[in-house]
Symmetry: C2
Subunit: 202 residues, 2 copies
């Protein structure tokens, strides 16, 4: 969406930065990439990269064409009471991705992840360093990164079943039904007891 007051040439500059970013992230990985090197690749000042795209992870989100800036998600996650995070994460995930346009974008990301080793490495570093790391710190529970990856495994599996292989009745279930079903499980991953092999209902 173009902002008002954009000068002619803005679009070219943005495009040049995005192309340089795409190349540099592919070469250096998410973790190794720097705004300075991306600016150099685009022939612009680093300040201009920040001006157009914000932080490194916002720039990466733009390269991936993520529908929602990670900052917004982080804000939702870190302001939600810990014991309501399970339902909130599921509801937010569906709210962001479960539209025809964005679910297609998610399909592309998953398809890329299964065939492109380099893309996988970038996505893994990005997701780990931004969303998962932040959720883990917010939790204050034992084994925070294991918990964060447990949650990620359920969200990926949900996306896989709903958007890619459309397995019914899951694929057509409404959001609140899925929040009710997945919320307690995701909450268990975040704050439950992971040490014991319990049998029986939770």
């Amino acid at each position: 969406m173009p902002r008002t007051g954009r000068r002619p040439g803005d679009t070219d500059t943005r495009t040049a930065i995005l192309e340089a970013a795409r190349r540099h992230f592919a070469d250096a990985g998410y973790r190794g990439a720097t705004i300075r090197a991306i600016a150099g690749g685009a022939g612009v000042d680093p300040a201009l990269v920040h001006h157009y795209f914000g932080s490194k992870h916002e720039l990466f989100a733009s390269v991936l064409e993520l529908p929602v800036p990670p900052e917004l998600l982080l804000n939702v996650l870190t302001t939600t009471p810990v014991d309501a995070l399970g339902a909130t994460i599921v509801r937010t995930f569906l709210g962001v991705w479960d539209t025809p346009q964005h679910s297609e974008r998610m399909q592309i990301i998953i398809r890329t992840a299964v065939v492109d080793e380099q893309a996988v490495r970038m996505l893994r570093e990005f997701v780990t360093e931004t969303l998962l790391g932040a959720v883990a710190r917010h939790l204050g529970a034992d084994q925070p990164m294991l918990r964060a990856t447990l949650v990620a495994s359920q969200l990926i599996g949900l996306a896989f079943m709903r958007f890619l292989i459309t397995m019914e009745p899951l694929a057509s279930a409404d959001h609140e039904q899925l929040v009710a079903a997945y919320g307690p499980a995701v909450q268990h991953y975040l704050t439950g007891d992971l040490s014991a092999d319990r049998t029986g209902p939770l």
Copy 2:
């Protein structure tokens, strides 16, 4: 593994049947395929197909090179007490797939599923009609197919994180740690209350 007493020509016949099955499953889908048509395609009697491969879903498992016959899994699932199914399903899934050879096979199946619409349809029908359907019937709970697909979504997500994108610490966690983490969530999908949006730990 060749059985003792196999005559010369057995291997050719088996191969011809497998090739005919691969073609016919691709044309007709899992549900539409018949042993009779596959036998016709291979130029053999249907009884010979049953002799070599057993039922239609055993033949399909051979085509997919599944490491364990579905019959064996079904037997495990339908003889496990319902309130121990969560942990048993996770433990069995890891026991079957989490070896270097079989996890590579799972990677191939997932990679195929994300690019090949026809393969997806076959896998979906196969998984639904054999494993998920049987688990759902065994449960005797409300919304059995939704429950079965919830479980499938978690197992696919686990496989995706562990075998395909190897996200740590999940990718290196030992089996019993994963059984302890996932077991209660899978049990919740199978027998928990899916109707209410509960917050707080399970």
